[in-house]
Amino acid sequence: MKIDAQTTDPHQLPRLIRQAEGAVEVDHCLGQRFLGTALEAGRTLTIRGVPGNALGAYLDGGVIEVYGNVQEATGDTMNEGKIIIHGSAGDATGYSMRGGSILIEGDVGYRAGIHIKSYGDKSPVLIVGGAAGSFLGEYQAGGLILVLGLGCEDRAPYGYFCGTGMHGGRIVVRSDHIPVNLPDQVVPQDLTADEIEALRPHLEAYCEAFGVPMSRLLPHRFYALTPNTKSPYRQLYAMS
């Protein structure tokens, strides 16, 4: 089913997508919110243009592919499925996601991957091709945030307060730069050749989705940010 967003009531658009059967394509998208909310497994949604906030919130197995940029809160609390963005993404992308993956060709805004967590066989993956804004991976409790830093080779490809409150999971960065003002709660460590090799399926997923040759990503230095067990994010309580 094909929908022209330009000639469709924006408030009806999410319902039309939800009620459609099989694959849905939306053309001329321009800021319409809440598209693909809780889309189930087996469903696909292809969007051309720029969808609005909360794209694919609570995604439950569906696949969303966007040819364009996306706005804020993409993939909020997603449980399963895949969101592929041929462009850049706004703030709070992947907020509290528990499973599935989000692939962003370009950059991502502030507060990406905040509070992402893993559970059982679920382990969310957020891949950013370019750079991320500040507050990347705050309160991260599980899963993987992978920042490739393409086009941002001269500096660390993320902003301030990266990983504040982090208590699980990994942020992996393809970069030669580690900022001096990282929060106490994260420790950087270079990936070994084996660890980079283990990352290959994620790199291949990125290359395949966006037609980028692997030679642009590898070989390169990668390092991981993980929670600092010596300075854990916890309050010391006095209990009587």
């Binding site: 906030n53 609570y58 059982g120 705050e138 208590h167 309050q235």
Partner: protein, 502 residues
């Protein structure tokens, strides 16, 4: 020498040796490890420092040999420095830690419920006998239709927004599985179902075995999004966004890794043994517009079939905040006052942050009416609703319904030892220790909850009948039914009531 060891314990454990048969029941029953056998003997001893006066050993002792009394040891205190101040300082001097407490504040803030008096009909407007005449306590929570529209043939177009229908204006407040035990949750779910009202999952997710009570469940979404997924949202009758809680406004939640075990971790959908941290703010909400986005994404996920509640703590500018929430698309606002309970909160936050629910409720109701948007939302008040008269007063001040947490816990056997944060509840309520959890019989707890709410509903009808009111609708926001005693002009103005005698 440890500072705490030089400080007298709060309680004394008095054992009547003439009655004690050294059966050791107290050793088994105490969740806090007070009683023990002296090694190699049949002699019982008590570590009084651990005692929180939960009353479990006293109730269980087969010969009535035990009594817990306040420590008779004189403690030097003054009108400025209480024994509690001194004990807390010693504890912090020793540990360097933040003070943690359970339940609601113990500080003596004004209880406006007790300074409000209810009216009764005499002569000119006859009172009604609820045993003889029908009294309506059914309550609809949600957005009222702003306008009445008819179709071409004059029939009403009934595209009412979704509502919650309560047979009595009493909800069970949000208490998470993890904070309280599984049998507690089961009892609340079954009682809500039997009573025709709702309980609230809190932010710890919904246990798979309780999905069947979904029609009487409000599922909560907090900043940590624990256990939130499509089926969870679809399971409930309504979805609540938790912004704040009366006992700890501005503070997030933190379930220690040690408590995050077994079913708790499965229900929260996070790995066992990891800390469950709910950051204080929702990192996607920085404005009413952002709140609106979350409200509508939840409505989208539930196909506009379920109302969305937003729960906030009563804070200084609560009226303006509530006005924003009413415009965010939320259907129901829950306001939790200063004296509300909690499983664990930093003591100073619990005891010093927020404002009393009575003032917050009156201010919010007045503000929403002034702005002509009171009918856009349902209003629920919570935070020390202790009896049916408090409920009548809350409704007269403008609430549609109230939520009860502490009262429900007491009905299930809580003895208010304020030690929920230790996880050692001897009554099996605020603990996950299997041997303690087993003590709470969900059938009995459910029956007690049903009894309590049924009794309170009868009393509400009595009080309404006394006022000559036969429908809860006619009581709502009816502040003429209230008078204040011993209140200042400012308090009367904010409450919107006149002084007794006026």
């Amino acid at each position: 020498m440890s500072l705490m060891n030089t400080f007298p314990s709060r309680f004394e454990v008095v054992r009547d040796m003439d009655k004690c048969i050294a059966c050791g029941r107290c050793v088994v029953e105490c969740g806090h490890g007070v009683h023990r056998f002296v090694k190699g003997t049949k002699k019982l001893a008590a570590d009084e420092r651990r005692c929180v006066n939960c009353y479990r050993c006293v109730a269980a002792c087969p010969t009535g040999a035990l009594k817990i009394i306040p420590n008779r040891q004189a403690v030097n205190e003054s009108s400025n420095w209480s024994a509690a101040n001194r004990r807390e300082i010693a504890l912090q001097a020793e540990s360097g830690g933040v003070l943690l407490s359970g339940m609601g504040t113990v500080k003596n803030y004004p209880l406006y419920w007790d300074k409000l008096l209810i009216n009764a009909a005499q002569v000119t407007n006859p009172s009604i006998d609820p045993l003889r005449e029908p009294m309506e306590t059914r309550t609809y929570l949600g957005r009222s239709a702003a306008e009445i529209r008819r179709d071409g043939s004059g029939r009403l177009i009934s595209d009412l927004p979704p509502h919650l229908t309560l047979e009595t204006p009493i909800l069970f407040a949000a208490m998470s599985y993890g904070a309280i035990s599984y049998p507690c949750h089961e009892a609340l779910a079954r009682a809500a179902t039997e009573l025709g009202t709702f309980y609230n999952t809190g932010e710890g997710g919904l246990h798979p075995d309780l999905y069947r009570y979904g029609a009487h469940t409000i599922v909560q979404v907090a900043s940590g999004r624990f256990g939130v997924h499509r089926r969870y949202l679809e399971a409930g009758a309504a979805v609540e966004i938790k912004i704040g809680q009366g006992a700890k406004p501005g503070i997030g939640g933190h379930l220690a890794g040690a408590k995050n075990v077994g079913d708790i971790s499965r229900t929260r959908m996070i790995p066992e043994g990891t800390d469950a941290i709910s950051p204080a703010p929702h990192h996607d909400i920085y404005s009413i517009e952002d709140l609106r986005q979350l409200v509508y994404s939840l409505k989208e996920a539930t196909r506009y079939e379920k109302p969305v509640l937003v729960k906030i703590a009563a804070v200084h500018n609560v009226a303006a905040i509530a006005s924003g929430i009413a415009r965010s698309g939320a259907d129901i606002i829950v306001i939790d006052g200063l004296r509300g309970g909690t499983g664990a909160a930093p003591t100073q936050t619990r005891d010093n942050v927020g404002i009393p629910i009575e003032l917050a409720l009156a201010a919010v109701d007045a503000r929403l009416r002034e702005e002509g948007i009171r009918n856009h939302v349902g209003l629920v008040a919570s935070g020390t609703i202790r009896n049916s008269a408090d409920i009548v007063k809350a409704i007269a001040l403008g609430a549609d319904a109230v939520a009860i947490g502490t009262a429900a816990l007491i009905a299930m056997g809580c003895h208010m030892c304020h030690s929920c944060h230790t996880g050692n509840c001897s009554w099996g309520i605020c603990t996950q220790r299997p041997e303690l959890v087993r003590r709470l019989d969900p059938d009995e707890a459910k029956a007690h909850l049903v009894n309590l709410v049924t009794a309170w509903t009868r009393e509400i009808k009595e009080l309404m009948g006394g006022m000559g009111i036969n429908s809860i609708e006619a009581l709502r926001g009816n502040r003429l039914m209230l008078r204040g005693v011993g209140l200042t002009d400012a308090e009367l103005r904010i409450l919107g009531v006149r002084h007794a005698g006026e």
